[in-house]
Symmetry: C2
Subunit: 421 residues, 2 copies
């Protein structure tokens, strides 16, 4: 029989709703006291699991879990650390199983993206090989929306909502000022490898003339002349132009615009930032007054404007992971299956991790409009349901969100120290 305890770990970049998944995992496990004992969180993700730095969540009250559910960031800490293949790093997989064994853990839930699906898959195989009874499941999460099999990834919908609201609001601003001041506004969003987030910003553009008038995707080579022409056309027609640029925008040679060699006053290369580069181009080629914003982590942590649909997805995959484990499933991931676009209906299904690991869902070509600067109706039908609904955190009497910032209780280690490679 597998151990009754659960180990839950967060992996990679956090999202506005990954803690909603965490809360849902803990809440669901508590609903089955005959089947599950303690839920442990791994401090700093898989690194903490390897180092046997576990957090006991028993001290979280039911109210704490409600608060956790509306708190951005990753409550136990996350990390960027990819376990190597079984052959290359057997030592780490064996250590992980030893840690699980030492704490009577029969369920391992790894909440992350592609890499985590791969790791969870390998752990399930390793446990089998070692004869250790384990249910190892992946739980989807990534603002990049690039997991296959699942219709969408928890985290993405909230980022999509943030960039939509932000570009709409900023466009109303520049629209007001354009007669005598700023005419072009450029907003940089995440998505180094795929334009999912940039595409989502296109939802704001519902009719001719609506912002953003231009989206720059990583999937479409940046053409300076065509871009400037399009900006100028919008300034002429609408009085202003709003541009959303993906951090992954690149030129015909595949070079990231952000890496084009920007150096600052101190002579060192600047760290990221495609928006100022595009702003420089607008200023130089067109002479329009331009403003730019870089959303960076703000978009990825904006729980205050989370999508209610996204929160529901994040909670549902957490619940399903525990229920699938309870039913004895291993080597799987709960995925979101879309039943219909309108009315929007969805359900949770179980999918083999082997089908998900190491694949990447790119933005389909037919989601990008012919001119390369916008999204198609097909993209809109897919994206729109994901930003629906608001799910506000409560605020304290001083006007700040009541985010949950617990004192974490580490579990006493039972094994010798271990240093990950």
């Amino acid at each position: 029989m597998p151990g009754t305890n659960i180990l839950y770990a967060q992996s990679g970049g956090v999202t506005p709703v990954i803690n909603a998944t965490a809360a849902s995992v803990i809440e669901t496990a508590r609903e089955y006291p005959d089947d599950f004992g303690t839920v442990f969180g791994a401090a700093d993700g898989i690194i903490g699991a390897l180092e046997e730095r576990l957090i006991d969540t028993s001290s979280f009250s039911a109210d704490d879990l409600v608060a956790l559910g509306h708190t951005p960031g990753g409550v136990f800490g996350s990390c960027r650390y990819k376990l190597k293949s079984l052959d290359d790093n057997r030592r780490e997989y064996e250590r992980l199983v030893a840690v699980l064994d030492a704490h009577d853990i029969g369920t391992f839930l790894y909440n992350g993206g592609n890499d985590s699906a791969d790791t969870a898959y390998k752990i399930s195989r390793m446990a089998e090989e070692l004869g250790y009874p384990l249910r190892a499941l992946g739980v989807p999460k990534t603002i990049d929306n690039d997991l296959v099999v699942t219709d969408n990834c928890p985290g993405f919908g909230s980022v999509a909502k943030y960039v939509n609201v932000s570009i709409l609001e900023a466009s109303l601003d520049v629209m007001s000022m354009s007669s005598s001041s700023t005419k072009v506004f450029i907003m940089e969003v995440m998505g180094r490898h795929a334009g999912w987030i940039a595409a989502a910003a296109g939802l704001t553009r519902r009719g001719e003339g609506d912002p953003p008038q231009i989206i720059l995707f990583p999937e479409v080579s940046f053409d300076r002349e065509a871009f400037c022409k399009a900006v100028d056309r919008s300034v002429t027609t609408n009085g202003y132009c709003s541009v959303v640029v993906s951090e992954g925008a690149r030129d015909a040679e595949g070079t990231f615009l952000a890496d084009a060699g920007t150096t600052d006053a101190f002579g060192h290369k600047q760290l990221g930032g495609v928006a100022p580069v595009v702003a420089g181009i607008v200023g130089e080629d067109l002479g329009h007054k331009v403003h730019w914003a870089v959303c960076d982590y703000l978009q990825r942590s904006a729980r205050h404007i989370a999508s209610a649909t996204d929160v529901a997805h994040a909670r549902a995959v957490g619940r399903a992971a525990v229920e699938f484990a309870r039913a004895g499933q291993t080597g799987v991931m709960p995925v979101i299956r879309r039943i219909s676009d309108e009315p929007y209906e969805w359900t949770i299904a179980s999918a083999p991790l082997g089908d998900i690991a190491n694949h990447e869902k790119t933005l389909p070509a037919d989601y990008i409009s012919d001119d390369g600067f916008g999204i198609t109706e097909k993209a809109r039908r897919y994206l729109e349901p994901l930003v629906r609904g608001e799910d506000y955190p409560p605020y304290d009497e001083h006007g700040l969100p009541k985010y949950f910032r617990p004192t974490l209780h580490p579990v006493k280690p039972r094994l010798d120290p271990f240093t990950p490679a």
Copy 2:
């Protein structure tokens, strides 16, 4: 007797709540049909007033006005245009009075900052000189919070709330990732001349270790060594460091850090952006992985996270302006007077424009902590009430805010065309 119509104009940079003032002006005027006729909006601010481009607001329904009240940007358009002195540009002041006369306008309300207070003041004097019966009033607005006499400026509280929520959320993100990834996060906020907005971000820091650990004010010369030492101390103590930097941050010689000569790959100077410069310093001197965001217009248009206190202020000054005009007052501005910090109580008073025009309220020295990187308790007492309360816009079924974007109805001109200088 002054004409019964009202001309309302928006001036300078817009705010998340300037339209709440506009809605309140129109609503209040409608409450007094015996005293007031039509409320006209000046298209693109004072430029439209000079060019006789007026908007008739009669077509706005009561529901429209409610929607206007929760819409960011400036509904009639704003502009950056400062009328010169009476002596230097008598022609424009005379033209303005001619436009008012042609449309039976007896009340002129100028919704803006310092310059607008000055302009409204001069118009009131000019009208008197020409024997034109006019009530000319200023109505306060500016995210910069730099108007004197008034306790605070409508617009500032909402920006303050936005930067607070944003730095709190992004800090929860970097906190989660700091063990193996980003350790320093830098967020750039507005305030080229004064650190009011940067100071407001300090509200998030309620206790030792809370973010933002460092604020860079325009009022404190940037000291690279002291800054890096402070960043490193926070990384050692807290595992990460959150920095809020004002766009107006400058070195000991008074040079803006943002203007330090950043050039991009195309060889031209970059347009603004102090956050990447500071990020470069952190990377170079400390070697920590760093992320940065530039809020730009997002902070100034974020009606979705407006402060309810700020919205109440914005509405109150709009209402008072109409009521003061009705009582025959001219050459004044409704100002916010604070009665007590805790419980927070305030009222609206009438102040002479002459006392307000051309003065600037800078951030008091005793609002900045001794180390130059934070705010004092005194600052906190002043700032905290301004971010209190939430005032969400309604959202449509597709997950976007229902912002009011009316078709504006221009009034047929009655005068010859006029070109502002």
